[in-house]
């Protein structure tokens, strides 16, 4: 049984390594990760077949010659099939990774973003930056305007004050010159 524990542990380690590789962005690592993952799974299937035993061949064995239990052949058959499938898939995936690397404008073989996704997110991003820029522009513009208004008001007030002072010097008895003039008309 100790053999099966080692097998299971090895399978688990391979699966862990495979999962870590599959989470990468580079295509060649993805392919290698899939292969490692597949090998781990194959080991686990082998573990599922039970403890080790004699080769499962009855031909040529005299009855009662070897009493050790036979190994279960079904998991081995399944693993063989899985290996063949993995081989074909890996070859194709590597070809795709190569093609993807050749087609890309960058040197690496990273999986590229989806164009549609990128368009959606980029569109939103551009919109957001545009809005921000416009808001900043507007703020600056309004600050400027406010400053100008304030300046104009200040000037106006200063003008009024100067005018009042001037009139106060001319005619110290009256503050309101408008009424004064209309009164003088009467």
């Amino acid at each position: 049984m100790s053999g099966t524990v080692v097998l299971a542990a090895a399978g688990g380690a391979l699966v862990a390594a495979g999962v870590a590789l599959v989470l990468e962005r580079s295509l060649s690592r993805l392919v290698v990760g899939m292969l490692v993952l597949g090998n781990g799974v194959n080991l686990l299937i082998l573990t599922g077949g039970g403890p080790a035993g004699r080769a499962p061949i009855l031909h040529g064995v005299p009855p009662g010659a070897d009493r050790r239990p036979m190994n279960d052949p079904v998991p081995q058959a399944m693993i063989l099939t899985a290996i063949v499938i993995a081989l074909g898939t890996a070859a194709f995936a590597l070809a795709i990774a190569y093609r993807s690397g050749r087609l890309g404008d960058s040197d690496d073989d990273d999986v590229r973003d989806d164009i549609e996704d990128r368009r959606v997110t980029r569109g939103r991003h551009e919109l957001r930056t545009q809005v921000r820029a416009r808001r900043r522009e507007f703020r600056e513009w309004s600050r400027e305007q406010r400053g100008q208004i304030r300046g104009a008001r200040r000037e106006l007030r200063a003008g009024i004050r100067a005018e009042r002072e001037r009139r106060a010097v001319d005619d110290p008895g009256d503050l309101d010159d408008g009424d004064d003039e209309s009164g003088s008309d009467r």
């Binding site: 295509l27 799974v41 686990l44 077949g49 990774a97 087609l103 999986v111 164009i115």
Partner: protein
């Protein structure tokens, strides 16, 4: 007569081999071979369907090894009816592809690649439907997926390679999960024969069967594009050539659904995952249709409605009653046909209008009234407008949902009605923009855009492409015309699914019910 059973797998495989040997020579002969083989598969499937319906599940033990040891092929009513419809659809798509090929003689898709790969795909699909054990189901999936990797990256352009990578990696991961599930099941039950598993799972602790069930359903869920596992589909399908997208959208996801039906009736009849499936169905419907509403590309829009309609089928599987299963099977058949038709029409639109983007299309109802008709009827069918088959399927599902009586099921019934309306809205949006809008209303109509728009209308649509689409449309209308017999057939299939004793007896006749 049961020796017919391996033929749907063997004939396309052999033909694919012949075609690889021939290479690019004798294109005419190759086309004849493809169509003949697919027509033969269809006729064998029809014979199997009739026999499975009359005499119960048809089985063949490959190599005469008895059931738990060897490979068993089984055709019960569900398998046979799925096989028949998929054979009809693949035949029509082949004719369509040939029409496209002949028309584009100058820049044709590589004949020596497309035809053998497509036949391999058909063989894999048939193998998956006929598989009597889980491992053979896995092999069928792998044959089909291997072919689909080639088909989705056909031509190797940058867009297709990018979309293909996503598809391949996701499919590889789901295969890996499927393989782990098989390993777990073999370690727990000591067999992968589905009939024997059905017996042995009953003796196992519920925790182990739940683990096995969840792993299988995850693997199938990725293939069927059920909501949390569906993100790959709208990204990868639309870039492929129109016939490839059509057959992928119509068939490949439905094989995942077939896996769901098999798992939930034969292997795990206990409905332990019912709340999970109901939630997945709800989210698939809502997320899929909301995604569809905002798309501007017809192919992407259709891909999103595909995700949303997978939710209906999961809903039926989750309910699990005889009426629900019958409605699900009917819905699957309807959806295979209708989704394929719509993608083929999208291909026609692309040919005629030069694009599938709603921003660039317009006025097709006037310039191409036939495409208008070909789009309108399946679109209304997908939305569930009454006399058409989509309505019949949805009605069956809603009735089964109401009969179920659970609160969650009622919520899903309401959601299903809402989703149906939103689907109709999304498709009407396509109709308004692509078909009814006067080209002058189109945004950004500059002189350059008008030049682009002026070039395509001279394109004549090849008769084979239109003919294949019309044939599929006729098939979907036949579901309405022959609604009564078809519904009773799906009801018989559901009854058969719910009493697996007949299936088990057919696969392992020598031991009635006893564990070996």
């Amino acid at each position: 007569m049961n020796q017919l059973l391996p033929l749907p797998v063997l004939m396309p495989l052999l033909a694919a081999g012949v075609k690889i040997t021939l290479g690019p020579r004798h294109p005419g002969l190759q086309r004849v071979i493809s169509v003949t083989v697919l027509a033969a598969v269809l006729s064998v499937a029809v014979v199997l369907l009739v026999r499975a319906d009359r005499f119960g599940p048809q089985t063949v033990q490959v190599g005469a090894w008895p059931a738990p040891l060897g490979v068993t092929l089984v055709a019960d009513r569900l398998s046979a009816v799925m096989l028949t419809v998929s054979a009809a659809v693949t035949l029509c798509v082949m004719v369509y592809a040939i029409g496209q090929d002949v028309a584009d003689a100058d820049r044709r898709t590589p004949l020596s690649v497309f035809h053998p790969t497509y036949l391999l795909l058909v063989a894999g699909v048939a193998d998956a439907f006929l598989a009597g054990d889980l491992f053979n189901l896995f092999v069928g999936f792998e044959i089909m997926l291997m072919a689909s990797y080639v088909l989705i990256t056909l031509g190797g352009t940058a867009a297709r390679v990018r979309a293909g990578t996503t598809y391949i990696m996701v499919a590889l991961l789901s295969s890996m999960l499927f393989l782990i599930a098989i390993g777990v099941i073999y370690a727990a039950a000591g067999t992968v024969n589905m009939a024997q598993l059905a017996e042995r799972f009953q003796a196992l602790p519920s925790g182990i069967t739940l683990l096995a069930e969840l792993m299988l359903l995850t693997a199938f869920g990725i293939k069927a594009a059920v909501f949390p596992l569906s993100m790959w589909l709208p990204d990868s399908y639309p870039t492929a050539p129109a016939p490839v997208t059509a057959v992928f959208a119509g068939l490949l996801t439905k094989i995942g659904i077939y896996g769901f039906i098999r798992a939930e009736t034969l292997l795990f009849p206990g409905h332990a995952t019912r709340p999970l499936l109901l939630a997945a169905a709800l989210l698939s419907m809502v997320v899929g249709v909301l995604g569809a509403l905002v798309q501007v590309d017809i192919k992407r829009l259709l891909s999103f409605t595909l995700v949303s309609h997978i939710g209906y089928m999961i809903f039926g599987v989750a309910l699990g009653s005889a009426a629900a299963l019958a409605a699900t099977v009917f819905y699957v058949l309807h959806h295979i046909t209708i989704q394929t038709t719509l993608f083929l029409v999208a291909g026609l639109i692309e040919r005629r209008g030069g694009s599938t983007s709603l921003h660039r299309l317009g006025g097709l109802a006037r310039t191409a009234p036939l495409i208008g008709l070909l789009f309108f009827v399946p679109a209304m069918n997908l939305g569930g407008v009454p006399p058409l088959s989509g309505f019949l399927g949805k009605l069956g599902l809603l009735q089964a949902g109401l009969a179920d009586g659970g609160a969650f099921a009622d919520v899903l019934v309401v959601t299903a009605v809402g989703t149906s309306l939103l689907t109709l809205y999304a498709l009407v949006k396509v109709w308004n923009q692509a078909f009814w809008r006067v080209p002058a209303e189109m945004p950004g109509t500059s002189a350059e855009a008008e030049d682009e728009g002026a070039a395509p209308p001279s394109v004549r649509l090849p008769a084979a492409m239109v003919g294949a689409t019309v044939a599929l449309l006729a098939l979907s209308l036949a579901y309405t015309a022959a609604g009564g017999p078809l519904v009773s057939l799906t009801e018989r299939a559901a009854a058969e699914l719910l009493s697996p004793a007949g299936y088990i007896q057919a696969v392992r006749p020598q031991e009635p019910g006893g564990p070996s």
